[in-house]
Every structure is written in structure tokens, then in C-alpha cells.
């Protein structure tokens, strides 16, 4: 009997959740066949069998387990049943389907009687086949077939494609409640947010930035930039660059309190809040102050893709001296972001909106964005925080200043 235990996933992780088994209790597994999936704060990971044999479950799905805790036993002395492999495969597929569905409110109907399948089962009609092809649904995956001998009618195909597009047919009203276990990630996020609120003296200052200059640069150079660097010239790079320059001017915004000390950073590791299918993650652009605009854009794209695919490593998500969060992508006009501890400040970007502004005594339409800076007043004074935000605004409205960290002409005449 070999014990399968929770491996050490990453240095900072001491506890994981057994999110699901990928085999059934009593199944025969091959060496290296994934047995279960563990979920950590940041990612999920499949755990392979260390020997071939029959699995005996110890921990249950949903259990929180410490590193080193026993997941299951594998009896390597058990004989491999004939046709075991095919059977195992089938089980796995079945499981996957089940898990991908949201938690069922009703028990799944299990067909008891074994109906002999017709050779024509799941044969789509010509019209049904076109609908399935266009909906990327395989005929064999159509569950409800109403044609003779399990044939797929046009209506079956429409329903199957609709179901796949997850447009559930809603009941007129419902008073169902669903209870789902909080994911590791959600739990961690919630703990850290409350910690941040309770342990800092947080407040938010606002400003607004006229995006005319940045928009002009993106319109003028966007195509050439994309051609040369194979990445879009977005807004994030300008905000990151402006932040780095402003952080150099106001080091306390880039610092944090460590017991009785203040730790200053001579570098800017910018955390970028990224929304992923599993929730919010905050990967870090290291030494952002040293990167070019293209370098930042490439890094942002790389991290966003990794985040979406759940490929971010622990290293890529820890550290960070300052955070930028862009609620504007979802349409937010103004918000008060929460500091990502132990950092001391977070910049909130918002939606760019055409607004009437008074410029030289005249009303003009300008693309405006509200900026928010939430900061820990224990370490950053009001004057610094406001000046920091004004500096960012100034860099963004006058991008040429970002080249040398100040107006080139002022530098030239040494003002």
C-alpha cells in the first residue's frame, strides 16, 4: 500500500483544498495517471499516481488538507483488471462533464435501464448537422435526441447548441438557493481585503486626467508599434511608466511599514490587477521603471494570458511595491480601490469618457478619466499623495515629460 500525500506546492502554501477526484474510489490507476486535483490560493494542480494500483480514498472532495496530509492509498499489489485502461478513461470523461456543470440543485437523473443503442443513434439530420457544426457541438455529445432511434432532429440540434452556449432555459421564477464551498482563491482574497481595511489608515484621493495626448499618440503610432513589437500600444504602459516616474519622486508611496521600520524600494515592482475566470489575480511587472513602453506592454500581455490560462506561478504573483487596478475596462467611472498589503498605495484607473471641460475659458469636449489613489495615511502624508497623483496626471497629459522625467526644455535651461 502506497500513500499519496499532499505535496509541497509552493513555499508560501501550507494548506490546499482537494477540489475533486479524477478517478473513482476503487479504480485501478496507471503510474502517473492524474488521481485528483488540488486547489491552492492561486492555481489548481493535478496530482499523479506515484504507483500503479487500486485507489482507496481517504480524504473527501472539498476537504482542506495541510501539506503532507494523506489524500488516498494506492494498493499496488492489486491485480490490473482486464480492460482497466478503457474503463478508467471512460470514468475520467464522465467525471469531467459532471464537474464542468454548475452545482446541481436537483439530483442528476440516472438511467437505470440499459437501452440497446441503435446504429443510427445520434445521427443528425442534414439541417441538424449544419447547426451542430456551426455551434461546435459534436453529434455524439448531444444528450437529448428526439428523432426515431435516437436521431438528432433540427430542434435537438438547436437545443444542444443553445445549451452549450450556456443559455439555460430559465424558469419563470425560482426561489432556489445554492450553497457552494468558497474556493481557496476567494477565501484568500477575502481575508486579505479585510486585513487591509483593518490594519491600515486607508483613504482615497481623486483627480482626473485629460487623455487627449495619450490618445493622439496611440492613434498616430498604434499601427507602426503593433507592426514592430507585435503587441498593441495600450494605455497600461503609459500609466505604469507615469507611476514609476512619480514613485521615484515620492518614495514613501513605494514603501511599506515593517514593524517599527519603513522599507523603501529603489525599484518599482508594479502589481497589475487582472481579472481571470477563477477570480482576481495580481501578477507583478518587475523593475517596471527599467522597461520601455513596448517592454511593459509585452509583459502585461504575457501576464494576462498566463492569468487567463491559470498558468501564473507563485513567483509571478508575489512581491510588488505598488498596484495599478483598471476598473475602467468594466465601465467603472470612479472607485476607491483597496490597498494590496503590505503595499501602501494603489492607483485606480477608470473609464475614459468624453466630458465638457473648460479650457482657456472655453468649453471643449475632452476624453477624461478619473484617477483614484488609495493610500495608507500612516506612511504617506496628504500632501505627498495628492502631489503624487498630480504628477501622474501631469505625465499623462504631457507625455514628452516622461522621456526624461521632466520637461525637456526646463531641463535644458536647468529650471
Amino acid at each position: 500500500m502506497t500513500e499519496l500525500k499532499v505535496p509541497s506546492v509552493a513555499e508560501s502554501i501550507t494548506e490546499v483544498t482537494l477540489s475533486k477526484y479524477l478517478v473513482k474510489d476503487g479504480d485501478y490507476v496507471e503510474l502517473d495517471q492524474p488521481v485528483c486535483e488540488l486547489e491552492t490560493d492561486k492555481a489548481s494542480q493535478e496530482i499523479p499516481a506515484t504507483v500503479a494500483g487500486v485507489v482507496k480514498f481517504v480524504a473527501k472532495e472539498g476537504d482542506d488538507l495541510k501539506v503532507g496530509a494523506l489524500i488516498c492509498n494506492i494498493d499496488e499489489t492489486a491485480a490490473k483488471p482486464a480492460g482497466a485502461k478503457a474503463e478508467v478513461k471512460e470514468t475520467k470523461v464522465e467525471k469531467k462533464v459532471e464537474v464542468s456543470k454548475p452545482v446541481e440543485t436537483k439530483p442528476v437523473e440516472v438511467k437505470k435501464e440499459e437501452v440497446k443503442q441503435s446504429y443510427a443513434a445520434n445521427t443528425p439530420s442534414p439541417a441538424a448537422k449544419k447547426i451542430l457544426d456551426e455551434g461546435n457541438v459534436s453529434a455524439k455529445d448531444v444528450k437529448t435526441t428526439t428523432g426515431v432511434s435516437g436521431r438528432i432532429t433540427k430542434e435537438d440540434a438547436i437545443n444542444a447548441v443553445r445549451a452549450k452556449a450556456s443559455l439555460p432555459q430559465k424558469e419563470a421564477f425560482s426561489r432556489n438557493e445554492r450553497v457552494e464551498k468558497m474556493s481557496r482563491l476567494r477565501k484568500t482574497v477575502s481575508e486579505r481585503l479585510v486585513y487591509s481595511k483593518n490594519s491600515t489608515a486607508m483613504l482615497t484621493t481623486f483627480n482626473e486626467v485629460d487623455m487627449t495626448a495619450i490618445n493622439a499618440i496611440r492613434a498616430k503610432y498604434g499601427d507602426a508599434f503593433k507592426k514592430k513589437y507585435e503587441v498593441n500600444l495600450g494605455m497600461m504602459s503609459f500609466f505604469a511608466k507615469a507611476s514609476c516616474l512619480a514613485l521615484e519622486k515620492f518614495p514613501s508611496v513605494n514603501a511599506y511599514i515593517d514593524e517599527g521600520n519603513i522599507v523603501y524600494h529603489d525599484y518599482c515592482d508594479i502589481s497589475i490587477a487582472v481579472s481571470t475566470p477563477k477570480g482576481l489575480v495580481v501578477p507583478v511587472i518587475r523593475n517596471a521603471e527599467s522597461l520601455s513602453i513596448a517592454g511593459i506592454e509585452k509583459k502585461v500581455k504575457e501576464l494576462a494570458i498566463k492569468g487567463r490560462d491559470g498558468q501564473l506561478t507563485m513567483d509571478e504573483m508575489t512581491g510588488g511595491t505598488f498596484t495599478i487596478s483598471n476598473g475602467g475596462v468594466f465601465g467603472s467611472l470612479m472607485s476607491t480601490p483597496i490597498i494590496n498589503p503590505p503595499q501602501s498605495a494603489i492607483l485606480g484607473m477608470h473609464k475614459v469618457q468624453d466630458r465638457a471641460m473648460v479650457i482657456d475659458g472655453k468649453v471643449e469636449v475632452r476624453p477624461m478619466m478619473y484617477l483614484a489613489l488609495s493610500y495608507d495615511h500612516r506612511i504617506i502624508d496628504g500632501k505627498e499623495s495628492v502631489s503624487f497623483l498630480v504628477a501622474i496626471k501631469d505625465f499623462l497629459e504631457n507625455p514628452h515629460k516622461m522621456l526624461l522625467g521632466a520637461d525637456p526644455v526646463e531641463l535644458l535651461i536647468e529650471l
Binding site: S118, Y119, A120, T123, K129, K130, E134, G147
Partner: protein
């Protein structure tokens, strides 16, 4: 210069259907036709005119040989061949006018002239007067079709040695028509002139006629046509055709290598058709035809140049109008981002002889070759009340079904109205019906369709009810 989303080159059944479907899907569409009238081979010198002449000659033939049985005396019977041809021309015109109307209705621009690639997005159209104009397009559908195959050792003078095109517009009924090729085209035209009094000799290289059809169909059709008076020289290799005044001497070798000579006043060369791309300037678009003259396409019917598609006779597959039509709609929908499909195994083939022959799916020889366990049900029309009432007793329906599952794998019909009956086989097979499924569906009585049901009963369980 006019610019289009799609330009279709060729206005046969493939091309004009493609153009209509493109227009329906919102594309700005143009169609280029070399000739003054739309419709291509099918409408002008193929399917439609041959059916007009087949029906005219069939009426005459019935009056001459079948009416007496029905108690109708038709004395002093005669026909005006010139009027038959004129009627045929009228049928063709109403069809081509119909296509022109459809183009207008769908706001498709027509360009009359030879379409030729300048680049992959630019097509030059040169009309009969030699005037040239160019049009721009995002996508192109090549639908240039095919033309009759020539034999290297025979000169086609289009007067005495003719192709199917000339055979549809003769000024007299031949005395003795010698036909090279026992395929569908040769047999249909042979039937026309045989009924109108010509002696008809068919010389075929293979040992059977309509070679791609099921062997039972081929044998039955041969038997019936021989009975009607058409002479067949099978396993004969034609070596030449020499015109001397009004006489054509066709020479051939039989299986033993002996020389055979057949003298007639007309010789029809009907040995198949070849893809037609002359003057299309494929090379200017970065394309070339393969060694058989075809344009190569992938599963989406797209050529090696993205945005250029090809359909119908000019690509691989059966040279059939309805195959080209399916492909035309398929390409239009594919270009619109849809995912259509064509089940090539379900494209029926038809010979409009009398009786007609029609086929879909696997032949018995296909199943034998592939080692498929099958069962066969064959029901003769002779046993049906409907057939006896009309007097069309020849032929049968043959259903081939899987021995294991009873699924219908092939349907082969020779007999009256086979061309229309075959669609029941197509629908059944598209839905993968079993032979028993068909035998449990009500078929109207008395009709020829009952033969289909009876053949299915035999295939299922050998329990025909009317035999």
C-alpha cells in the same frame, strides 16, 4: 471599375446557384458568362434540351408502339423533326430567361464575355466584339464546367462526327447513328434517335454500359435497350472514324483483336467530359489545372489561393448538375462563415433512358469490394398494379442494406419514373433509415413507389407482400 465581394465565373447550374446564394447572404455578386445566354451546358446543351427531345421522341414512340394496346388507333402518324428541335429551343429559352430573371431579382450583375484572371482579385471580361473591361473582387468562384472529351485519333468535324452539343440540334434524323460510348449521354441521345426511326449502334470499350452504376442496373438496361432495337458492341475499342461524303466509317477492334467496321451517316462521340479552363488565366491567379484539367480544391472547395473557390465539373467528383448546385450553395455559405456540408455519397445519378435508371449510395460491387456484409432486396415493377395499368412493366427497385443493422446502404432503380423515385432512397439514407423503417411507412397505392417498399420488405426479412 466595379468592385464586388464575389465574382462567379460561369453561369451553369453550379455558378448561378452559387451567385444567388451569395446574394442571399448579402454579398455584392457578379456572374461572368462567356456565351450570350446564361445556364451553361446543363440548360443550353445538356440536361434540359436532351430531356425536351427525349420527351418529344417518347411521345412519338408511344403513339407508334404503345397506343394500340390501349385501344387507340393512330393512323398516318408522322413527326416534324424541325418542330421538335424548335420546341426544344423554346424550352431552353424559357429556362435561360428564367435564370436571367433570377439574376436580376437577386441584384446580381451579369457580364457577358470570357472571364480571365488578371490577378487573383481582378478579372478581365472580353466580350464577343473584343471589348475588354476589368472588375475587382474579394473572392472568386470558378464554375467554368466541362466540355465533351475528344479522342486523339478522331477528328470531330461537327457535321458528321459530332458531340452531344451538335446531336441536340441536328437538321435531320440520322439513318444510322453510330455512338462511341455507352454512358448516360450516349444512351439518352441514342434513345431519342432510335425512337424517331434511326438505326443506332453503340460501341463501348468496357463489357457493360453505364459502368459506374450497379451491375444489375447495367444488365437490365442493356437488355431493355437491346429489346427496343439499339445495337450494342461491347468490349470494342474504337480506332478511328473516317468521313466520306455523307458516310462515316467507324473502325474498332473486338476483344479478340479482330477489326470491325460500322458504317453510318452520323457518329456521336460521347466518351465523357473534361474540365474546361481555357482562357481563364489560372496562372495569373497563381493556380494551375492538374494533369486531368481539374482545379484542385480542399474540403472547403477552396483552391490553393485563399479566396478563390471552384465548384462543379471543373473540380473532382461526379460531373452532375445537382452536385455542382450543392457545391455552389456550399461555397457561398462557407464564405459567409457558415459550416455547411455535402454528403457526396448521397448524390444520386440518373440516366433518362426509357425506362429510366437511377442510383444512390453503394453499388453491390462496392460493398463486395469493401467486404461489407449486406443483404439485397429486389422487386420487379411487373408485379405492381400501377405498372400493369400503365403498361410500363420493365425494371425493378433494388435495395442494399447492412446485414448487421438493416441500414440502407444503396438504392438502385431501373424502370418508369426511376429518376423521381430515387429521392426516397436519398431521404432514407440521409437519415440512415433501415430497410424495415421504409417497409413500415405507408406508400400510396397504386404507385410505383410501392416497389421501393416491397424491395425493403425483401431486404429486411424476405417478406414481400405482392410477390
Amino acid at each position: 471599375m466595379s468592385t464586388y465581394n464575389v465574382v462567379v465565373i460561369g453561369s451553369g447550374p453550379g455558378g448561378y446557384i452559387a451567385a444567388i446564394r451569395c446574394a442571399q447572404l448579402g454579398m455584392k455578386t457578379a456572374i461572368i458568362e462567356k456565351y450570350d445566354v446564361l445556364g451553361g451546358t446543363c440548360t443550353n446543351v445538356g440536361c434540359i434540351p436532351s430531356k425536351a427531345l427525349l420527351d418529344s421522341s417518347e411521345h412519338y414512340h408511344n403513339a407508334e408502339s404503345a397506343f394500340a394496346d390501349h385501344g387507340i388507333a393512330a393512323t398516318g402518324l408522322s413527326f416534324d423533326f424541325g418542330k421538335m428541335i424548335a420546341r426544344k429551343n423554346g424550352v431552353v429559352k424559357s429556362n435561360t430567361d428564367g435564370i436571367a430573371y433570377l439574376m436580376k431579382k437577386n441584384k446580381i450583375d451579369i457580364y457577358n464575355g470570357l472571364g480571365s484572371f488578371v490577378t487573383k482579385n481582378r478579372i478581365a471580361v472580353t466580350n464577343a466584339k473584343g471589348e475588354k473591361q476589368e472588375i475587382e473582387t474579394e473572392k472568386v468562384i470558378i464554375a467554368t464546367g466541362s466540355k465533351p472529351t475528344k479522342l486523339p485519333f478522331i477528328t470531330i468535324d461537327k457535321k458528321r462526327v459530332i458531340t452531344s452539343t451538335e446531336a441536340l440540334s441536328l437538321t435531320e434524323v440520322p439513318k444510322h447513328l453510330v455512338i462511341i460510348g455507352g454512358g448516360v449521354i450516349g444512351l439518352e441521345l441514342g434513345s431519342v434517335y432510335q425512337r424517331l426511326g434511326a438505326k443506332v449502334t453503340v460501341i463501348e470499350f468496357l463489357d457493360k454500359i453505364v459502368a459506374t452504376m450497379d451491375e444489375d442496373i447495367s444488365k437490365e438496361l442493356l437488355r431493355i435497350l437491346r429489346k427496343d432495337g439499339i445495337e450494342f458492341l461491347l468490349s470494342h475499342k474504337v480506332t478511328g472514324a473516317i468521313v466520306n461524303g455523307n458516310e462515316v466509317t467507324v473502325s474498332a477492334e473486338n476483344k479478340k483483336g479482330e477489326k470491325v467496321e460500322v458504317k453510318g451517316d452520323y457518329c456521336l462521340v460521347a466518351v465523357g467530359r473534361v474540365p474546361y479552363t481555357a482562357g481563364l488565366g489560372l496562372e495569373n491567379a497563381g493556380l494551375k489545372a492538374d494533369e486531368r484539367g481539374r482545379v484542385a480544391v480542399n474540403d472547403h472547395l477552396e483552391t490553393s489561393v485563399p479566396g478563390i473557390y471552384a465548384i462543379g465539373d471543373v473540380i473532382r467528383g461526379a460531373m452532375l448538375a445537382h452536385k455542382a448546385e450543392e457545391e455552389g450553395a456550399f461555397v457561398a455559405e462557407t464564405m459567409a462563415g457558415q459550416k455547411p456540408h455535402i454528403n457526396y455519397n448521397m448524390i444520386p445519378g440518373v440516366a433518362y433512358t426509357w425506362p429510366e435508371a437511377a442510383s444512390v449510395g453503394a453499388t453491390e460491387q462496392d460493398l463486395k469490394k469493401d467486404g461489407v456484409a449486406y443483404k439485397s432486396g429486389k422487386f420487379p415493377f411487373r408485379a405492381l398494379g400501377r405498372a400493369r395499368a400503365s403498361g410500363d412493366l420493365d425494371g425493378f427497385v433494388k435495395v442494399l442494406a447492412s446485414k448487421e443493422t438493416d441500414e440502407i446502404l444503396g438504392v438502385h432503380i431501373v424502370g418508369a419514373r426511376a429518376a423521381d423515385l430515387i429521392i426516397e432512397g436519398v431521404v432514407a439514407m440521409e437519415y440512415r433509415a433501415s430497410a424495415e423503417d421504409i417497409s413500415r411507412m405507408s406508400h400510396p397505392h397504386p404507385t410505383y413507389t410501392e416497389a421501393f417498399k416491397e424491395a425493403c420488405l425483401i431486404a429486411t426479412d424476405n417478406r414481400a407482400l405482392n410477390m
